[in-house]
């Protein structure tokens, strides 16, 4: 009986050491999760600041190359994210990316929003998937895989920033042209994204937001069109005339 009980005891000990091992595994993965959540929050914060910086610079002057200059400074701010991405890369090797994808997404999407805003200001185009992939690399290769979902959801938020940009810009010189350009651009975004809504979760909800941004831009473009329409002069000349009065 004693022998049996001892055997039991041994068994029980062995089992405990197995569970001890499980504990380590579970703790490791939880700790990693925590670290990634924190880093992702940092990425979000830097990206948000970059977006504000872009708005700031683009409104500062009206030179033709202001987009280029804004993008340059925006990218410099965004560069602060790279050390964070590098630290995430170490945590996301192999199957771990997909294990922790939900922790990575929020920061990554905000980064893509900022990056695509800078890209738009410089090039007046939508950053492509492969350009975004390239931005998520350093000399050692990609930080982690880029999913279509993160790419599209990040871009979807871009339309909100473009709406802000178009409206604040509208009463400046050339604002009318900008508004019309942004209007067309956002309209195309909405149409293009629509094709992907069945496959990309949450994109549908974001499309509704894009829709209302679009309507705001349309209303602004409408108002600009209207206000010049009473006079038989081309809009540029009208703008010059107004400029004259207001700078007196």
């Amino acid at each position: 009986m004693v022998a049996q009980s001892k055997a039991r005891h041994m068994e029980s000990m062995a089992l405990n050491s197995v569970f001890d091992h499980f504990r380590q595994q579970i703790d490791d993965s939880n700790d990693r999760r925590e670290r990634l959540i924190k880093t992702s929050r940092d990425v979000t914060n830097i990206s948000k600041k970059a977006i504000f910086l872009l708005h700031r610079i683009i409104l500062e002057d009206t030179d033709d190359d202001r987009g280029l200059r804004a993008a340059k400074k925006g990218r410099a701010k965004l560069a602060e994210v790279y050390p964070l991405f590098r630290s995430m890369r170490a945590e996301l090797v192999g199957e771990r990316f997909w294990q922790h994808q939900r922790q990575v997404s929020p920061g990554l999407q905000e980064f893509i929003e900022a990056l695509s805003f800078a890209h738009y200001l410089e090039h007046n185009t939508l950053i492509s998937f492969s350009e975004t992939q390239t931005a998520l690399c350093d000399e050692d290769g990609p930080f982690f895989p880029l999913t279509v979902s993160d790419y599209l959801l990040g871009l979807s938020d871009l339309t909100g920033e473009l709406m802000r940009f178009a409206i604040s810009n509208i009463s400046r010189r050339g604002g009318r042209t900008t508004a019309n350009e942004v209007c067309t651009f956002v309209r195309n975004c909405k149409a293009d994204f629509e094709l992907f809504t069945p496959q990309v979760r949450d994109l549908g909800k974001k499309q509704a937001v894009t829709g209302s941004s679009l309507e705001k831009i349309e209303a602004a473009a409408y108002a600009v069109m209207l206000r010049g329409s009473e006079f038989d002069l081309p809009p540029e000349i009208l703008e010059d005339l107004v400029q004259q009065t207001t700078t007196r």
Binding site: E194, P198, E218, A221
Partner: protein, 221 residues
Amino acid sequence: MDAANIDVLNSLLEKDSNVGEKIREQVKELDKKVRLIVGILGKIHSTPLNSMQPLVATVDPVLLSCHEHIAAIANAIPPDQYWRWKDMWSNDIRSLVFAVALMEYFKTRSLISLEKSAELLGIQDEWKDRIILPVEDYLLGLINMVNELSRFAVNAVTLGDFEEPMRISTFVKDIFSGFTMLNLKNDLLRRKFDTLKYDLKKIEEVVYDVSLRKLVPTDKV
């Protein structure tokens, strides 16, 4: 529960699940095409009126190709079970009514009827125990169209067309007064109808802006 009994029950359950499966397949395809149609019609907002006909015409073949899916759905539904399955595709039906109503507006500036909508959607009379176009879906489709037209009134002005808002105003006022004469019991329908009021107001404001600035001959208002 004896084995025979279980077989009977299982075959009943199986049948339903097969019907669902077949419909789901067709709806998936239908969905894609509806999305394509809505996408094309989204371009009206940046299309000058003289290019509208060609644009609208590109919808026709896609619309036509929806017929086969609707027919396949009708074939998949057992007799008498239309109301059991309809929620699976009624959003698509409403979008299609929206599309044909909008196209009809651009062609004839008049309102499409329920019958004509059903016809253009390829819904055949002899299927009436399996698929129909219910009044609710027709009306909801029309409301969608008015929502779109109020946005279009704004964008038409931006494109320099000051007369279109007048036409839209007349058209939408007519639809609105028609709706007020309907006895709407259905909750969704009543709620959606309330959005029409906002559309109407928006259109009235566009007409106001245009006529205040004398951008159209006064007799057009």
